[in-house]
């Protein structure tokens, strides 16, 4: 399993508690559209991801992240 695959798996795991609609999660899944998350859910989820990987995702970065795939890329580049 590649590094990125591992990150992807952990992100999927982190999403599940917030996946109220129980939809299938892929690289293209959008947080606002597919998962229907409001801004408060996003905040809690981002905090969980930051703690899981011991990184910081600034609000500016969050604004650029719309899909699961983009989040995985961001986390991968931040974890160093």
């Amino acid at each position: 399993m590649s590094d990125r695959d591992q990150t992807f798996a952990k992100i999927i795991e982190a999403i599940q508690p917030f996946n109220k609609k129980d939809i299938e999660l892929t690289e293209a899944t959008t947080f606002a559209g597919d998962l229907e998350w409001d801004s408060l859910t996003v905040m809690d989820f981002v905090a969980a991801v930051e703690d899981e990987f011991d990184i910081l995702i600034t609000m500016n970065m969050q604004a650029e992240i719309e899909t699961v795939g983009q989040l995985v890329d961001a986390v991968d580049s931040l974890k160093g």
Partner: protein, 400 residues
């Protein structure tokens, strides 16, 4: 052609559905008469006001009114200019002097609104490559100021000293950092553990800004705010505040002892590119600020009111936002939108005005009725208020 307003359709539909059910629009209340800081006439009915930020009841103080009238006569209705051009009158300087005395600082800068004060400070002090670290429950003016600027924005869990420490620890050591805290958080009325948080900020070599909008006048020996009460004045670099609460008018300010503070007057866009406050406003503000320096009795009565309301509501069975009365804001937590609207409606019909708050203005899915006390609420009025809450609560079915 795309109607730019289509994006608002869901909100319009939601509001229309709500109003079709026969309730009054909580966001469209009109005060036909305002008889005192605590009494107004709404739709012909005398109504007790429990949803203003007139904490110290200064809006009808005779000295404050007299100062305003005098300024109108002597300086006219407005400055018609920016502070950096023709819009600084002696009244603006006098107002800044009053603030310097109140806060014991070398500098004071008056903005046209508190919203603009935060817009200005957040967007200017921290720049590209620097970080602003703010509490997740920060006021919209703080968030908007962050969005206006170019700094990296990082949130920490509300009032969590540990989370603040953790996040600061993840930032590059050499980057400039500003930690933004509020003394009193305005939705639920809880105070911040400023002593510990400021210590953490200092440990990570961050500068500190505290917004004391809801604390000025009744916390700390000189009424400077929660930061004064917490004993951290020496470690706070900037204090932002407003004239629209305890001071009783409109306007905002930042006070500081930073030796280079005055340069902000030239680089802060929400200060430069806007008209300055009218002469009557800075005159009433200055008069009010000076009176607040000696308002011990009012302060004591405000706390008495807050504690009585909190205890009374809790005894009745309401769920409140804080365990004890931490400030002059008491939030009554309700389970959902429908109950909240029905309670709010029942109260206004009984003759009591409170603020209704819902997401996204409130933290995580909470619905609440926000009550804010005034030093001018009499003991009898507070008992009346409790009676109205009991009646409304029983009618709506949220208490026994």
């Amino acid at each position: 052609m795309t109607d730019l307003f289509s994006k608002f359709d869901p909100l319009i539909a939601e509001r229309e559905a709500l109003l079709a059910s026969g309730v009054r629009d909580p966001f469209a209340i009109v005060m036909d008469e305002v008889r005192s800081p605590t009494l107004a006439v709404i739709k012909g009915k005398e109504t007790i006001l429990l949803g203003t930020y007139n904490y110290m009841g200064m809006t009808f103080d005779p000295d404050v009114i007299a100062a305003g009238k005098k300024a109108l006569d002597e300086f006219g209705s407005g400055t018609t200019g920016s502070r950096v051009l023709n819009g600084t009158y002696q009244g603006h300087k006098a107002c800044e002097d009053a603030l310097k005395e109140f806060y014991g600082t070398k500098s004071a800068m008056v903005f046209s609104t508190g919203y603009q004060a935060n817009l200005g400070m957040m967007s200017t002090i921290a720049g590209k490559g620097e970080y602003i670290i703010l509490d997740a429950d920060s006021h919209a003016s703080i968030y908007d100021g962050c969005a206006l600027g170019n700094a990296e924005i990082v949130r920490f869990r509300h009032n969590s000293i540990e989370d603040l420490d953790k996040r600061l620890g993840r930032l590059p050591a050499e980057a400039g950092k500003l930690v933004v805290l509020e003394g009193v958080y305005s939705m639920v009325g809880d105070i911040a553990p400023l002593k510990e948080m400021v210590a953490v900020a200092r440990k990570h070599e961050a500068m500190v800004l505290v917004d004391e909008a809801h604390g000025m006048g009744f916390f700390g020996k000189n009424g400077r705010g929660v930061f004064e009460e917490a004993g951290v004045e020496a470690d706070v670099d900037f204090v932002v505040g407003t004239f629209s609460k305890s001071v009783g008018t409109v306007g905002g300010f930042c006070v500081s002892n930073h030796p280079k503070f005055e340069v902000l007057r030239l680089v802060c866009r929400p200060y430069v590119f806007t008209a300055s406050l009218p002469p009557s406003v800075v005159a009433t503000a200055a008069a009010s600020i000076r009176k607040l320096m000696h308002a011990g009795d009012k302060r004591a009565h405000l706390w008495k009111n807050s504690k009585r309301l909190h205890a009374g509501l809790r005894e009745m069975g309401f769920t409140l936002g804080t365990e004890t009365a931490q400030s002059a804001i008491i939030a009554v937590m309700l389970p959902d939108m429908e109950t909240t609207v029905r309670m709010w409606q029942a109260l206004i019909e009984l003759g009591l005005y409170v603020n209704m708050a819902r997401p996204p203005a409130t933290p995580a899915g909470t619905y609440l009725l926000r009550c804010s006390l005034c030093a001018e609420h009499s003991d009898e009025q507070v008992e009346q208020i409790l009676g109205m809450f009991r009646a409304a609560g029983q009618a709506v079915g949220c208490i026994g």
